[in-house]
Point group: C2
Chain length 198, copies 2
């Protein structure tokens, strides 16, 4: 099992420091009560006007839904994701009940998955989000209505051993997490002007 602590410059909560996106997951099934807590965490996420534009199509390994979700994956993700115990598709509702376009639908959907991810860390579970999938196949297989957009496929499970992975993935599994500095993302005065807070 590989640990990837963030090399953070300023203190952050352990669930954020230790979070990363493995591809090697254990075969072990996830306890149903833990799965319920994951989606309960997503439920209490904030959203513009409390619209809650998040929906999820949940597949547990061994079910037809799981098999269908694997059919939406791209060639790279097919090399690892079908072995995880749980996959789900995230879907954004892009139009409000009054018919208006909700321009923060994806932003709020992303927040709900971040909430789910913190809860996963609390449960000893890891999350790996994928944008490498075919949304059109998902729409067809799951009868996803117009104005609803599949955005990511998410894998959840207990961490496994990196040496069980396809060779194409072995390096990524152990390479340190990297980010540009916070000071390169936070501006004051004008865009691209550094803030004095750092």
């Amino acid at each position: 099992m590989h640990v990837k602590s963030a090399s953070n410059d300023y203190p952050i909560h352990p669930h954020l420091k230790e979070r990363w996106s493995p591809r090697a997951f254990d075969n072990r099934f996830i306890e149903p009560e833990k799965i319920r807590s994951l989606f309960e965490a997503a439920r209490w996420s904030p959203s513009a006007g409390n619209i809650q534009p998040w929906y999820f199509i949940l597949g547990l390994k061994g079910t037809e839904t799981f098999e269908n979700i694997t059919k939406t994956l791209d060639e790279f993700n097919l090399l690892w994701a079908p072995r995880v115990p749980m996959l789900f598709i995230t879907v954004a509702s892009k139009v409000n009940s009054n018919g208006d376009y909700n321009h923060t639908a994806l932003y709020d959907l992303g927040q709900s998955i971040a909430h789910l991810t913190f809860q996963a860390m609390e449960e000893g579970l890891y999350v790996h989000q994928m944008s490498g999938f075919y949304p059109e196949i998902a729409k067809t297989l799951f009868d996803i209505p117009e104005n609803y957009e599949p955005v990511t496929v998410v894998a959840v499970g207990y961490m496994g051993r990196a040496d069980t992975l396809h060779p194409r993935m072995a390096k990524g599994e152990v390479k340190p997490r990297e980010r540009r500095k916070a000071s390169e993302s936070v501006f004051s005065g004008k865009f691209n002007m550094p803030s004095s807070i750092f």
Copy 2:
């Protein structure tokens, strides 16, 4: 000071249970080391291809940046947000370095703010995100380049007393948090078909 615990059906982490979006904030300034930890938390958020499409324009009360951020707010948010100690604009980079459209830019920006919010709870701070602002004014005032989209304005601070708010906001400040049930968002088989996990 008003507490709004989520009436959750399944256990969730206290930072998710107790999180809510107040409008009544205390005058007290936020310690710079806490502000650095907030953006450090955002920094370690996941993103598709590790693109990190998140940028922030930070205004601390009393600065010109803060004044300019208040100029982007809509009429409703102007009634409360100018009194908070810290405001920032979230900005999504919508195009990758290779020129391709990044269709998860807003989703990943939302995740980074959820990470920041989780860290805020850890620091005893509260966060209130607003979509009620004028992105075009923000683009002009802060020279935000083409292909970068201002998505929300975010208020951060210590919680204040609800009775200091404009009367239009008093009710919302104490009304319980509400969400549809998790079981109404999680499907299996087809979209809109309930999952057996609940």
